[in-house]
């Protein structure tokens, strides 16, 4: 009855051998293809560097002005625009400007990449049940796997620094945009699609004229979620050398610097609220035609 009280696990030697084989296999893979990945990711690295440089070296009043203009164009709301300016002024006053700009750069680049990759994948998924059946479990894994775990292969493949951090953030943040693009495409009114077909729309015209515009509010909700997830990942990514607001937080955890932790934590909250309110207001504006109902 031994097997009844103690789980009959794989024997230790074989398990060790298995783990070793996988590790060695992956190590060989990283040695063989690490350079290739770095080459492929070079444009990303360049883009990331440029955005960060732009945000950190431009004079702060200009940066705040630019943020205010973007917030105004997206939301057309004075409340949100003034909120953005005040938040950024406070962040600067408490001497977290440089770190905040680095974090913003990371979030923006990760979000842009997630949109570029996520929306086409979401569209494919929305159009094919088979693709959905394959991708859904993968997305489930990406969303539930503890984020520290997939830092490991990323670091093995690309080392530490901005780009691996960016990849880790993006992988963590991409599922909502894929899922919500898929959902948005699937929720498009069947009657309207039929009308588009009846007028002889090609697949591309159907996508461009009907599916994407009608799915856009849902997709915007996905973009909003992706931004929030990317910000949440910033602290974790600081463990692999991503600079920004995450690093002081990590230091504060290690040394129990309560105030340092709170300040930087609040700065993350601040920019999260900026991104959230602005992108949500933009999403709402896209749905304006739905609000005015004949009565």
């Amino acid at each position: 009855m031994d097997w009844f009280t103690k789980f009959p696990a794989m024997d230790t030697d074989r398990l060790t051998a298995l783990k070793k084989a996988i590790d060695l296999g992956f190590r060989d893979f990283t040695r063989a293809y690490g350079d290739v990945f770095e080459t492929i990711l070079y444009p990303v690295q360049w883009f990331m560097f440029r955005v960060e440089q732009l945000l950190t070296t431009s004079p702060w009043p200009l940066v705040i002005l630019a943020f205010a203009v973007i917030a105004w164009l997206a939301s057309r709301s004075w409340k949100i625009t003034i909120g953005v300016v005040i938040t950024l002024l406070l962040i600067g006053y408490f001497d977290m400007w440089q770190d905040t700009m680095k974090t913003v750069a990371m979030t923006v680049v990760a979000t842009i990449m997630a949109i570029i990759l996520g929306i086409p994948i979401g569209i494919l998924m929305g159009r094919s049940n088979r693709v959905q059946a394959v991708l859904n479990p993968i997305l489930d894994v990406m969303q539930t796997m503890p984020s520290f775990v997939y830092l490991i292969p990323v670091v093995m493949l690309l080392g530490i620094g901005r780009v691996p951090g960016l990849i880790a953030v993006m992988v963590y943040a991409i599922p909502p945009i894929i899922r919500l693009t898929n959902l948005g495409i699937r929720l498009v009114d069947k009657d309207v699609l039929e009308a588009a077909d009846a007028f002889g729309s090609s697949n591309w015209q159907r996508l461009k004229n009907v599916q994407m515009p009608l799915a856009l509010p849902t997709i915007m909700a996905g973009v909003n979620q992706t931004i929030m997830m990317a910000l949440a990942m910033v602290v974790v990514a600081s463990m692999i050398g991503v600079q920004g607001l995450g690093l002081p937080v990590l230091k504060a955890i290690a040394n129990q610097y309560f105030t340092l932790g709170i300040f930087n934590g609040l700065a993350i909250v601040g920019i999260a609220i900026i991104f959230d309110r602005t992108s949500q207001a933009y999403g709402k504006r896209l749905q304006k035609h739905l609000e005015v109902v004949h009565g």
């Binding site: 309207v192 039929e194 009308a195 009846a198 007028f199 515009p213």
Partner: protein, 351 residues
């Protein structure tokens, strides 16, 4: 109306549609006489349409009437192949729609057909004008030309001044005017209308019927109109086909249907019809013997109007003339009145 043949005719030949996972394997059984019930209960497939044969002449309004579940909406979707048939032919002009490949079908839909939908199916994020140009935009016409055509039809359906409104800002009747303008702007010879007016209030519906009839006098398209309402069918249809359980039970002109209902099912519909407004003097007149007496009445006049004219001028007899004035037959007031009254056997059946 129907004598002036313009536009493209549509012939539906031996059309079958079976819904289910493997329709092809039951088609022979259905052709061999398997019933709808047996197909459903034993094989879990639904017989949507069974051996449909309809000739729709070009330039006329063909109404397909039936209650819900009769297959009428399925039938109209075979004409532009939004639904693929299980067997049969749909010949439009001289092409079989069923045999077209994807590209041919797309071109066919772009240039030969336009469709109006029961639930309007407008693009909610586009304004009235942007919705109306849709067909031409898909065809790739220059924007200027698109808008020129669209504005013309927007005016024609009475939506002047609403070009920049969103569909949500309009009432149901106005939304369907947009649907109609969108279809007409496409300038296709065939207009498919799937219960186009069924979602509208009775008064607005009458209004839209009038709009359609007025337009049809000038555009002379081949219109296929689906409805569940016999009054609407009789008002609009040059020819009417009545569908029940996926089969055509009767087809013909409205007068044929009212005067000679094929079975009890159709009689029960026809009983409530105001015959005086449907039947024309041509159906009642007798061959002329001797000199034409009384007043002339134009061929195609409905009985109600003829009776009013005859009683107003107090003549018991009249003669029917065609457009050139030639005499076609004679008409007596008592025959006019007896044809307007619902036959006794149907009356007793109703009691």
């Amino acid at each position: 109306m129907a004598e002036q043949v313009t536009g493209i005719g549509i012939q539906i030949r031996n059309l079958y549609k079976i819904f289910g996972s493997n329709p092809e394997s039951y088609i022979d059984a259905v052709k061999g006489g398997m019933s709808k019930t047996e197909l459903n209960e034993k094989h879990n497939h639904v017989l949507g349409l069974k051996d449909i044969n309809i000739d729709m002449p070009g330039g006329g309004i063909q109404v397909v009437m039936g209650l819900s579940g009769s297959g009428k909406s399925t039938l109209i979707r075979h004409i532009n192949r939004l639904i693929d048939p299980t067997a049969g032919e749909v010949i439009v002009g001289d092409e079989d729609v069923v045999k077209m490949n994807e590209t041919e079908l797309r071109e066919f839909r772009r240039h030969k057909t336009a469709m109006v939908f029961q639930k309007f199916a407008l693009l909610p994020h586009r304004t009235v004008l942007e919705n109306t140009v849709y067909g031409l935009e898909i065809q790739g016409l220059p924007r200027e030309e698109q808008e020129k055509q669209a504005r013309r039809w927007i005016t024609r359906v009475g939506l002047d001044g609403f070009e920049d409104n969103y569909p949500n800002q309009l009432s149901g009747g106005m939304q369907q005017r947009v649907g109609l303008a969108r279809a007409l702007t496409n300038d296709a010879p065939i207009l498919l209308m799937d219960e186009a007016f069924s979602a509208l209030d009775p008064l607005i519906r009458m209004d839209m019927q009038t709009v359609l009839l007025d337009l049809q006098k000038e555009i002379r398209k081949t219109v296929v109109f689906i409805t569940h309402d016999l009054d609407e069918a009789l008002r609009l249809g040059d020819r009417i086909a009545i569908l029940r359980d996926g089969e055509v039970v009767q087809q013909g002109t409205k007068q044929e249907i009212v005067l000679r209902p094929a079975d009890e099912y159709i009689s029960s519909f026809v009983r409530e019809v105001n015959r005086g407004r449907v039947i024309s003097v041509d159906m009642v007149m007798a061959p002329l013997t001797g000199e034409p007496k009384g007043m002339p009445i134009k061929s195609g006049t409905v009985l109600e109007v003829a009776a009013k004219k005859m009683t107003d001028s107090n003549v018991p007899e009249a003669h029917v003339t065609d457009a050139s004035g030639a005499v076609l037959g004679k008409l007596a007031i008592n025959e006019v009145i007896s044809a307007m009254v619902t036959p006794v056997d149907h009356d007793s059946a109703a009691a």
